[in-house]
């Protein structure tokens, strides 16, 4: 099997793509956003509950899309739960750098990180949007 594909579709991606974690809607939320990739039709809806100390207490997503976009959303929710907003915004930047192939200045994601599994996307430029859809939706939700 082709190495690039193996890199793209690591076990963890296929697993989260098939059985996404934190799927649904937060029971109470104070931030939300819908994301949509108009080029391919993939959709994601994100709800968050952020407390007074700017900690993400709960985060859930729903929607439909390819394995990459669903897995990315699922991994993102796992990662962001419990994080402070400022830290989460750094992760946003690091993640978008990672999937575009620049991993020199990452401060919040390292090689042992589950998010690192999405690094293979860098070899499929047309799929970068799939991987970042959930993260851009998160960024939009913060404006809510």
């Amino acid at each position: 099997m082709n190495e690039l594909l193996k890199e793209l579709y690591q076990e963890i991606i296929l697993d989260h793509g098939k059985e996404p974690r934190n799927f649904g809607e937060c029971e109470t939320h104070n931030k939300s956003a819908h994301g949509h990739n108009p080029l391919c039709g993939d959709k994601v809806s994100l709800t968050l509950f952020v407390d007074d100390d700017d900690i993400i207490k709960d985060i859930k997503f729903s929607g439909e899309g390819c394995a990459i976009s669903v897995a990315s959303a699922s991994l993102m929710t796992e990662k962001l739960k419990g994080k402070k907003l400022s830290y989460a915004e750094n992760m946003f930047k690091d993640f978008t750098d990672l999937v575009r192939g620049s991993e020199e200045s990452l401060s919040t994601i390292d090689e042992d990180d589950s998010l690192y599994a999405l690094k293979g996307v860098k070899d499929f430029p047309m799929r970068v949007k799939c991987a970042t859809l959930a993260w851009h939706t998160f960024k939009n939700a913060l404006k809510d």
Partner: protein, 410 residues
Amino acid sequence: MIKDKIIHKDIRKDFPILSKKILKTKDLVYFDTAASAQKPQVVIDELNQFYERHYSNVSRGVHTLSVESTLRYEDARKKVQNFINAKSENEIIFTKSATESINLVAQTFYDKYMSTGDEIILSLMEHHSNLIPWYFLRDKYGVVIKFANITESGEIDINHFESLITPKTKIAALTHLSNVYGSQIDEKVTSICKKNNVAILLDGCQSAAHLKIDVQKLECDFFVFSGHKTYGPSGIGVLYGKESLLDEMPPYQGGGGMIGEVTTDKASYAELPAKYEAGTPPIAEAHGLGIAIDYMNNVGIENIINHEEELTKYAYKKISELDFVKIYGDGDNRNSIISFNIENIHSHEVSSFLDVEGIAVRAGHHCCQPLMKHLGVNSTSRLSFGLYNTIEEVDIFVNALIKCKEFFIK
């Protein structure tokens, strides 16, 4: 199969891009002609030569280069006229794209023939470019848009279509050949329109390079297609319109080249076709389209049709044998396009997998979101053929689909 060999041995050599290796090792299998066709060497060379030896603006100067450019530009118009069998070259308008052609018709047809409350019929399988220009009219002027249903086999439901027509229906805008199903419009639809005095626009983007086009036989009032899907350059589109209608409708854009006389008080407009060609047109692109039409004529439209029919039938049969693949639409009335999904695998995954095998297919909603909703899917994969594809490539594709399924569903 013999026919296949006659058309192919040398034809593939006409398309330099087909010798490209994907990821340095895989032969390119280009199954995305419905999105855009590859260009034969002669089109590429002629574009270069045009800029090297003949280029200038058209219809303006009197110098040698202006004459040479104008001759080639107008020659391209005659080639298009013959290609689709229009009565007059005045009926051929060059635009920047088929999309612009539809926008032109929507705006100017409304201005002349419609008012608030009038009705337009579209179908659920139209491309966004044959939806949004009409939505603009709905938003701006309050016209009513009705949608014809699509049958399971991917065709307009004729009875439903007919039932939508009222005395207020002014125009129907429909795909000549669906970019999702590959199905060709039933001529009953046009005769129903004629009978009820409803104008009809046919979107020929997918048919122009794959069927014999005769706008007089089709009895359409407007026919649009693009250069880039017919082996020509991008940046050039065609609008065919019946001369009587184009004469009556107002100009679309104002600018140089479309005027008769201009004073500080008013302007009169040029005769057809210049009336609809404001500004410097896509000159080299029109010439390139003319060369692409020559190229198709040299290969032979009948040969192209026969060859693609053989490919489509073979591919449909082979893919139908795979029990994990769902094909949209059925096997009859299908031209050069097959849309499908592999159960439980998103089209993006299929497309990325095939890409690594060197195979280019389209994944997504194909600019047909209402149709995707109708089918209850988020997206599909689509293979589409051009005159350069081969039976062997279909076999490579089918084997890759089997590998794809094994990769994702263990």
